[in-house]
């Protein structure tokens, strides 16, 4: 299960968050934990370089893309490698929508599209789509080309 996908800006404010199977009372804890993890480790990290951590049986893969930091949390079959696949799909889709690693402004300008991409990539805790070309078409309700 992919437990959470989270986007935050440079100051650690949440831009988008999606939780799956995480009780509401634990979300605040996760939010602050992830943002702190990013603040501690993401300084000076190159765009899309993946960082990884694990706590008991839960895995966290996170990275930075332009002004935005992205965190993905998973457990069971979504271990660090599966999560790196998820985060790779997310970063490719965001880059595709924004044209390049986004500034915060650009990210917010494309907010609706990014939400749609996320909707295509992760659905209630499961990875649904992985190819950016396909995602690009799906968010415009176009069928995939290979079909």
């Amino acid at each position: 299960m992919i437990l959470a996908v989270l986007f935050a800006n440079a100051e650690g404010n949440i831009l988008i968050e999606r939780f799956h199977g995480v009780p509401a009372e634990e979300r605040l804890h996760w939010r602050s934990f992830l943002v702190k993890l990013g603040a501690d480790n993401l300084k000076g990290v190159k765009n899309e370089e993946l960082l990884v951590a694990c706590h008991k049986s839960v895995y966290i893969v996170y990275t930075i893309l332009g002004d935005v930091s992205i965190y993905v949390v998973g457990k069971d079959e979504y271990d660090e490698l599966a999560l790196s696949e998820v985060i790779f799909t997310i970063t490719s889709a965001v880059k595709d929508v924004c044209g390049k690693p986004p500034t915060e402004r650009r990210f917010l300008d494309k907010y609706g599209r990014i939400c749609l991409c996320l909707d295509e990539i992760v659905w209630k805790g499961y990875l649904e789509n992985t190819e950016k070309e396909r995602i690009k078409r799906l968010i415009r309700l176009k069928p995939p080309t290979e079909f």
């Binding site: 100051e11 949440i14 694990c54 660090e80 915060e104 402004r105 649904e128 995939p144 079909f147």
Partner: protein
């Protein structure tokens, strides 16, 4: 200036950087949402408003019921628009608004229409939305379409239906299970993702049917799985089948191993890793099976991708716990990871190295770790400290450098949990390595001079009180302890007073000086400190005859369970009659099952107190002492681990702990009644000892009542020849009176029926008479025992799977403590020496040197040399091996 929702720093006045959502307000957005009702829809504007709504929701904004309903109704109007982009947004916002059951009806017809649409993408999205918001009744109406969608030609539609199926399985399993055939067909799909989703769903549908899962795995491992993600799932399912199929096939080959091994050559790293991990997780994995997996993991260690490095080192760390020698080849790669930028990777590398390193590499490793410690967080440091503790216990000769390391880091900055981990480690080392005692105690003394944590200071003072008086020069600790009386808070001062009293009671030469110090404490500003000083002065100042009482009072553990004492104190009403601690019940009150389960689930955090085996033995001893019939059995020699006598999830769960005394053996049967409608009374175990000739039953203590969910114990005691390691097999039947319990009132009926329940057999084996006691230096201990009572003989162990298996069998047979890491056999070895130590019943120290040799036909020969203080014990060890 309006404040941004997103940016905290409103000092930034560069206009380009302003958020497009600056100044956004819920009320205004809800107003804007009225455009959804326009007869001429402006698709672009509507999309913008939906984006704003999404933004508000993502920022944690909540809508009132009325607001949500209003927005939802307006959104449904947008189904009229033909604009594709807008339609896609509509699907998303409906899911986000998650309308209530009575609202869903409004949108159902539109979605049903889309589900039958010729436009594939409408179908896919409508399925996802419907499955998100629908309930069971509607599901039966749309089931037909969903089934069709599973095998739809368009992979997006098929995936939408399959992933919906995974979610619906949680709420409506009986419906989704009917799709089995379609899902099976989808597993063969040419589209990679469809195959992935179909496989996940099919496995979930069949997960409780072992045979079906086994068939699924058998057919797919032969076939062609396109998606790496699906391949990973298949590897996981395969591991599950291997685990459940138990042992190897008749040919000796492990089923599906070839498949796992072939996955190590897959082009996707994810699949390679999954296969390597599956191999390392195999039950009783052999070195030959491990080698290819370790090789690929070693390659990953030097990958440029941090995720791969992390995954590899994490897996190797786990392997190192059971097969340290298998990982040694990777040590060089792992050493270079100590400087990895990612601290999680570096910590895992270090702790793995600490597990696989040999005695000669300890010093070099410690040097590297010292540099590393300064720039990691406390939680990583704790992991390292724990790894160093185990390393020190493994190589006791290296205690000096490891103890120095611990004392150095104890002086540095750190939080409570970290400091506690270090102090706990030092305490354990002092307890287990006699040579380390003096230096360890001094390190602790120095630490309390400047310790900011009251809890740690009091714990250390307590420990000093027990261990300090037993050292060669107890007087040198007094200064450190008495300093606490001057410089600390009341809690620590009170502890220090108790510690001083312990020194006074144990060391006669110090007594007069301790008196002087205690008298000074009579003027302390805190009443607890004064009270303690007064109490100790009067107890220590008594006659010599009361010396034993004083020692009992100061050092004896409280033989009354704290919970019972607390309850009795609460119930005590002030009266003429003084509170009498002897009237407090000593029987350990059983803990309700629910609590116990919860406690088991609770993650033992890093700060959780370590529960050493000593505490279990102590609590057993206390429990047995509370039963008068066992009082004359003498000192408890050993308590075994609990042996299950019932299978999991049966009506009554029973396990047994064997308590060994010099002339007696007591079986403690721990029983749990798992049926809420039953109350058991007069529970007893009828033991048949016909296959244990040397034992004769002397006593049996029934359990009066065993309510649901609340564990209780019944005991049976046997007499056996003095000091002899008598063995035998016992069959057990649980006998009781069962009474029905009314589920509403919880009252039990008056009349009960006698019933019995067959339990598994129980054996007393030779290993029950030997305590695992490590020695700090085997060679010295061996020399000091001398050859007088040495017995040497040779044995043929016959054909064995591996040398390592033979070594483990003998270790388990004897139940002794392996020393200096010699329980691990290096891969491909033809010979091996294993050193064991222990204490035989009657408190006789025993050391064993086992030399194994392997000939070509896998026949193992063993030379067994035993040394002890008593030749009959040396002979007894040989008898155990000869008859085992």
């Amino acid at each position: 200036m309006a404040q941004s929702y997103v940016k905290k720093d409103d000092d930034r006045d560069d206009e380009v950087e302003y958020s497009p959502f600056m100044g956004i307000e819920k009320g205004a957005v809800l107003q804007e949402a009225r455009v959804f009702n326009d007869p001429q829809l402006d698709a672009r504007r509507c999309s913008q408003v939906i984006t704003k709504l999404l933004y508000l929701l993502n920022q944690g904004e909540t809508f009132t019921k009325v607001e949500a309903t209003e927005v939802f109704f307006s959104v449904t109007k947008l189904f009229q628009s033909r604009d594709l982009g807008l339609r896609r947004m509509v699907y998303l916002i409906i899911k986000e608004l998650s309308p209530s059951a009575d609202e869903v009806i409004i949108v159902t017809s539109s979605l049903m229409k889309d589900m039958n649409s010729k436009t594939d993408m409408y179908r896919a999205n409508a399925i996802r939305v419907l499955c998100r918001i629908t309930d069971g009744t509607l599901l039966t109406q749309i089931e037909r379409y969903l089934k069709q969608a599973v095998v739809d030609k368009n992979p997006v539609v098929a995936s939408a239906a399959l992933v919906s199926g995974i979610h619906l399985l949680q709420t409506n399993p009986e419906i989704v299970k009917r799709w089995s055939n379609e899902v099976q067909e989808a597993v063969q799909s040419r589209a990679a993702l469809v195959q992935f989703h179909a496989l996940a769903l099919l496995h979930q549908i069949r997960q409780n049917d072992r045979l079906a899962v086994s068939k699924l795995v058998t057919s797919l491992t032969r076939g062609n799985v396109r998606s790496p993600l699906a391949q990973c799932l298949l590897i996981r399912y395969t591991s599950q089948v291997i685990r459940e199929s138990g042992n190897n096939t008749q040919s000796g080959e492990r089923p599906f191993y070839d498949y796992l091994e072939s996955c190590l050559r897959h082009k996707s790293e994810m699949v390679i890793f999954e296969a390597a991990k599956a191999i390392t997780d195999l039950n009783g994995v052999t070195s030959r099976e491990l080698t290819p997996a370790i090789t690929v993991l070693q390659l990953f260690l030097s990958s440029s991708k941090p995720v791969l490095r992390f995954a590899a080192v994490r897996t190797l760390n786990k392997v190192a716990m059971t097969h340290p020698m298998a990982v040694t080849n990777c040590n060089i790669d792992m050493e270079s990871l100590i400087s990895d930028q990612n601290r999680s990777i570096a910590t895992l590398a270090i702790t793995t190295l600490l597990k696989t390193g040999n005695e000669s590499s300890v010093d070099r490793l410690m040097k590297q770790i010292t540099n590393f410690m300064s720039d990691i967080a406390d939680e990583f440091k704790i992991v390292v400290v724990e790894a160093i503790r185990s390393l020190c216990l493994k190589f006791p000769l290296k205690y000096r450098s490891l103890m120095n390391f611990l004392s150095n880091i104890l002086r540095e900055e750190g939080g409570f949990d970290y400091k506690k981990a270090i102090v706990d480690s030092i305490v354990i080392l002092i307890r287990d390595i006699p040579d380390a005692k003096e230096s360890g105690l001094l390190h602790l003394c120095e630490f309390i001079e400047d310790c900011e944590f009251t809890y740690l200071s009091t714990q250390i003072l307590h420990f000093l009180g027990i261990e300090g008086p037993k050292t060669l020069d107890p007087s040198k600790y007094i200064r450190y302890i008495y300093n606490r009386v001057h410089l600390e808070n009341a809690t620590v001062r009170a502890s220090a007073v108790s510690t001083l009293a312990k020194f006074g009671a144990s060391v006669d030469a110090l007594k007069p000086r301790i008196f002087v110090l205690l008298r000074r404490c009579l003027f302390d500003s805190d009443d607890e400190v004064r009270d303690r000083a007064t109490l100790y002065l009067s107890t220590l100042g008594g006659d010599i005859e009361t010396d034993i009482d004083v020692r009992d009072f100061l050092f004896g553990s409280l033989d009354t369970p704290l919970v019972n004492l607390e309850t009795s104190l609460k119930n005590y009403e002030p009266s003429e009659e003084a509170f009498d601690i002897n009237l407090v019940p000593k029987e350990v009150k059983s803990q309700p099952l629910a609590d116990k389960k919860a406690a088991g689930k609770k993650p033992t955090g890093l700060g959780a107190p370590p529960t050493g085996p000593a505490s279990t033995v102590d609590s057993y001893e206390r429990l047995l002492l509370s039963i008068p019939e066992f009082a004359n059995f003498g000192k408890l020699f050993k308590s075994s681990a609990a042996v299950e006598l019932t299978e999991a999830e049966t009506e009554y769960a029973v396990n047994v702990v064997k308590h060994i005394f010099d002339t007696h053996v007591v079986f403690q049967y721990n029983c749990i009644n798992t049926i809420p409608e039953q109350l058991l009374e007069d529970v007893i175990v009828i033991v048949d000892a016909s296959e244990a000739e040397e034992f004769s039953q002397v006593f049996s203590k029934p359990l009066r009542s065993l309510p649901y969910d609340s564990p209780g114990q019944t005991f049976v005691a046997f007499e056996k020849p003095d000091g002899s390691p008598a063995t035998g097999k016992f069959s057990n039947i649980l006998k009781f009176i069962v009474k029905e319990v009314d589920p509403t009132s919880g009252e039990a009926e008056d009349d009960g029926v006698e019933d019995e329940y067959q339990l598994e057999d129980l054996e007393v084996v030779a290993a029950d008479y030997i305590l695992k006691v490590p020695v700090s230096n085997f060679r010295n201990a061996w020399e000091s025992l001398g050859p007088d009572c040495e017995r040497v003989d040779e044995y043929g162990l016959g054909p064995r799977e591996s040398l390592s298996e033979a070594v483990n069998t003998v270790i388990n047979l004897l139940g002794m403590q392996p020393c200096e890491g010699t329980e691990v056999v290096p891969p491909n070895s033809r010979s091996h020496t294993c050193l064991l130590s222990g204490v035989f019943i009657g408190d006789v120290k025993v050391l064993v040197r086992l030399s194994f040799g392997l000939d070509g036909a896998k026949d193992v020969a063993m030379k067994l040399a035993v040394r002890s203080d008593d030749e009959t014990v040396s002979d007894a060890i040989h008898e155990i091996v000869a008859s085992g």
